[in-house]
Symmetry: D2
Subunit: 358 residues, 4 copies
């Protein structure tokens, strides 16, 4: 089993980068939900390639078609399936390097996993392109969550070694998250953002690539969501985040740094303010015992640098079983982090929707 | 749904710290597997409290009783249920602080989640004590994996700010993992281990607590295990790791640090050596596209400091809805990391067993 | 996977007839539900053996112990596990016929399924005794349903060829269901009941056994429960009913007979009476398109005769691979149907609770 | 949750009768399986309408398009999604009767279940048309099973009160099943088949409809497939069969009749013949303790008469909440049983494939 996730709302993904279409079926949605299609399109464009020099020139409009579960502009409550046709596929680019395993890609593992029968063109089912249906599903989920007052937003916490400030886990504003969602390059500090962009272009020029960290916040979740064993909010969100290609680390609240604190500093002391339960700090990222505690959920996902680089790399030919080298040509993102921002939000929205539907 | 996990092998946990018993049912095990009961007992003791001055004085022998699924010293293939009676429960310790929410514990979230009906004594279902049945299940899983040549081991990578060396992700030895499993305090470098222990005792003396990081390795997994969406090896393991109380971060391979590397450094170049596919480095922690790539799986889990500290802390009374303070008395671990080592290995064994049973 | 069922409420069963204990864990129950323990005991006694000459003389009190998920007489919302110790086990009775496969029992299929490692004593995990934890779970589910006004009841529709009247699918009374639940032999018509009992005793005397049909009704379900594909109310209930040992047929409403009707007769015409939607007939058994339609749910489950008979039967020795014969001695029910009545109700309650918890 | 089924192979259905497309995603298929597309088309035609006077004149070619999971004529091992566009939709036919609930259809239950937001046109998601993607999935499953020697076939056991012979549960031939699959009207006895057809045409003429029974056999299954609680072969197959619109009863082996037999007649005595374990009779339909026993699986599914009839029927207007009448016009099947034959086989193939993939 691979392509299905969810306990209450189930997301069933399918497709290959150079196949007929990619898509997703969402099962278990409430009926009667009006969807803002233009808003979904806006989310799709946040992820889509070709918006600037920092992303691949592959030209995919990512136009989705809803096939089912949607009638008179509202969800019917039956499975909602949407597909996106693959238009700009230059498949022959790939046949010549079919047997040359690209380092840090899923070429070799996919080949073994599927006994050589997987669609190798453009990464096939492993392609970052599969995040398009995820963004679609996330956009639907976000709209449902928004009607319940729940907001999700994120920013680029770092690109390579260039970092910007953390979200303020105690006082983060909904307005900030909204602003960030309208930015082409989602940073709080534009000056640092400029440095990040320059760093990306420099890496590109040097035939290299960069990674980074996305920080995400979820506001206004009801208290008491999630379960201790084995369905903590952290479990659910990390499960989904680690499905995004290139994610190698996930941390909540103070994350790895909390392991260096003493209890007296790490503990989030509690108070009641104007009838609302709060904590003075938010080192636990809004989750205790796997359950939401009324504070914002805060987490970070670490992305590795794009494995596709034009430099010479040592690798193997899977057919001849010989060592060889590769220089990856073609249209690739020197850094995927900026386009990953809406994907992080999308899986978060999917996870949160599933959790609150219990 | 909370207490059940797994696709192919299902683990169903139950129990409260001060209830009649805690336990776990394992569904889907192969029949005919001989279990080394003494070996399971050894694993239980690795987690059990009271072994030294660094852990709680609560005296629980953690003796398990297998109720089903086991006949003539072998698994029958039907659900295997084991329980552990709660013996040393001093429940009256807890009633007096019933309504005072301990900071960074699950007292408040559990109260909301279960509408005040949860068993609050000793953390109830949220208690670290629930990791005892997890260690039981992990010990069973480990024995099955060992018969397939798969080894799991881990060490204390850090306590507070004191760190020891990383596992060597390329050349890690099975023998080292075995040695570590026999140590009361699982470090590679005994000298640093001594510093860590002193740091823990110092924190205890100062009525404070410490956290740390556990690093874990899985050797000799078949290549091609796992799936891209939504069941990557990282997804499965992080899902389980984030179910362990106190874990706030999980990273694979180079983890968060990989986000700072350039692709040319981060990429694990590939080669064939004596007919075996390998990578020169292991920044991806043995997983590409969510699937095992023949290299050791390497990951780290960050634990927060024990929230139970004897210092005065600000908090609330959930009944009177008033601000108050708390000084947590009783028998608590100043650092949970040492006892968490076998728990990290246990959930890893559970996850890997589920993955290879596909 | 075998022992776990449910989407919203999960039931995890374990145990063997002659092992340490049998039991069940219920995961996902609401917190704060007060349970009437005496009422659960009454349900257990309905199923328990030894009540009269028509059932086995095996003396099991079926006393359950709740291990978890229950505190201060209420559910905590965490997994509720209950076990029943096996007391009256005469295991040596079974060793001598270990390799002789009893016809129409699961001896042979169990042996193959579990590669000979299953606990063969008294049917092991296949034993009708495993319906005791099911009755426990059903009794819990029933109490929750009753608080929502939902009633479940059933009667012995037939024993062998002796039949009594059908439930009136349009006007069935809650009071009738309650009365039936207090009868030791659950028939509407006592005169026919007496005939049935005599038929059972006659079969027993002739070293033979009988089957029969249980008819069950569910009243006051909310309209709109269930789903078309693949989770119809019929799917859910039949799934569970066919898990009860000895069930070979399940039908809803007019069942197999509806296949002989013309549409103009079979169709349940609709009307509004005093603001309530009703149908004039109930050939569909209260379910249309897999979803409840406001009428009572009516269904029947067919039980085969007890396979354990004292007559000589042809069979095989699984060890020697030779043909042989068997005369089954020991304490067996000449007819299981009377004791199956609360089991049918139990799985129905489990299924309905799961369905309405969506 | 509604549209997803399966433990090892997951089938995710979507679509409405008059929406853009209907389809299904199959997740978990082995990679490298070559599919005979023409064979799938043949199965689709067995179900398709318009083949003769006994079925609706709605002209749907049921041409499927595989969107993913299929490359170079083989499965890739990633989710295989196929869609069927809805071509011949005359949606305005339906708007005028939108609020008039058709008796014994899912109009009313669907309206309540989805709060009035379901696509009511042509039955929407409840339409028999949704069995087209099921037949697609079943055709794929059948091909995989055939490579393992497993054969599935069925015949029309009865139409109304006209019955033909039962399958011989002990000696049924693969060849017979194949022959039946090529018949437009799948009966063993052509003479009785003619009577059945005449009966259907007569009912049609009289503005009425008929139901019937489909009997199905599965040959050459490995022994030891299935599990006692809660995943018996009967549970799995009945779960799927009761998802087919119009099925109201399912029985295995002797089914309801076994409840009338004495044990000495019902029990299937066992023997070894030429090294193979067999039973002399097959009253248990090839399943004992929920597990296959080496004999053919035999079961029957009862279909109610098509609810769409041109006669005047009493019903309600859901908007005005008033009693009214309806005469259903349009293109309807006077009997669905003949077209249901490949659907019964399809869900059987889906269920068996899931079971043997454990």
């Amino acid at each position: 089993m691979s392509g299905i996730w969810g306990n209450n709302i189930r997301f069933s993904i399918f497709g290959e980068s150079h196949g007929e279409a990619i898509g997703i079926t969402i099962d278990g949605l409430e009926s009667g939900i009006e969807l803002d299609i233009e808003e979904i399109n806006r989310e799709m464009r946040r992820r889509a390639p070709g918006r600037n020099k920092m992303s691949t020139a592959r030209n995919e409009k990512d136009e989705f078609e809803i096939l089912s579960g949607y009638f008179n502009n509202r969800t019917t409550g039956t499975p909602l399936c949407a597909i996106i046709r693959n238009s700009d596929k230059r498949s022959k680019d790939y046949t010549k390097i079919k047997n040359i395993m690209r380092p840090s890609h899923a070429d070799y593992t996919g080949n073994i996993r599927y006994s050589g029968f997987n669609d190798y063109r453009g990464g096939g089912h492993f392609s970052g392109r599969l995040t398009a249906p995820i963004v679609f599903a996330g956009a639907v989920a976000k709209q449902i969550l928004r009607k319940k007052g729940i907001a999700i937003g994120s920013h680029i916490k770092s690109i390579g070694e260039i970092e910007e400030e953390y979200f303020d886990g105690v006082n983060i504003e909904k307005e900030l998250l909204k602003e960030l969602s309208y930015k082409e390059f989602a940073v709080i500090n534009e000056e640092i953002g400029l440095k990040m962009k320059n760093e990306i272009l420099k890496a590109k020029e040097e035939k290299d690539s960069l990674g980074g960290i996305v920080e995400c916040a979820v506001l206004n979740l009801p208290t008491g969501i999630g379960s201790p064993f084995f369905n903590s909010v952290e479990s659910v969100l990390s499960h989904l985040l680690f499905s995004i290609p290139a994610v190698k680390g996930v941390e909540f609240g103070a994350g790895f740094d909390i392991s260096k604190m003493r209890g007296s500093k790490a503990n989030d002391e509690i108070c009641i303010e104007e009838g609302k339960v709060k904590t003075y700090t938010n080192n636990n990222g809004g989750i205790l015992g796997g359950i939401t505690n009324s504070m914002p959920i805060i987490f970070r996902a670490a992305f590795k640098p794009t494995p596709s680089i034009a430099k010479v790399q040592r690798t193997i030919n899977i057919e001849t079983k010989e060592n060889t080298t590769i220089e990856i040509e073609g249209r690739h993102d020197p850094c995927i982090v900026q386009r990953a921002v809406p994907v992080v939000e999308a899986v978060t929205a999917m996870g949160i929707l599933d959790l609150i539907s219990q």
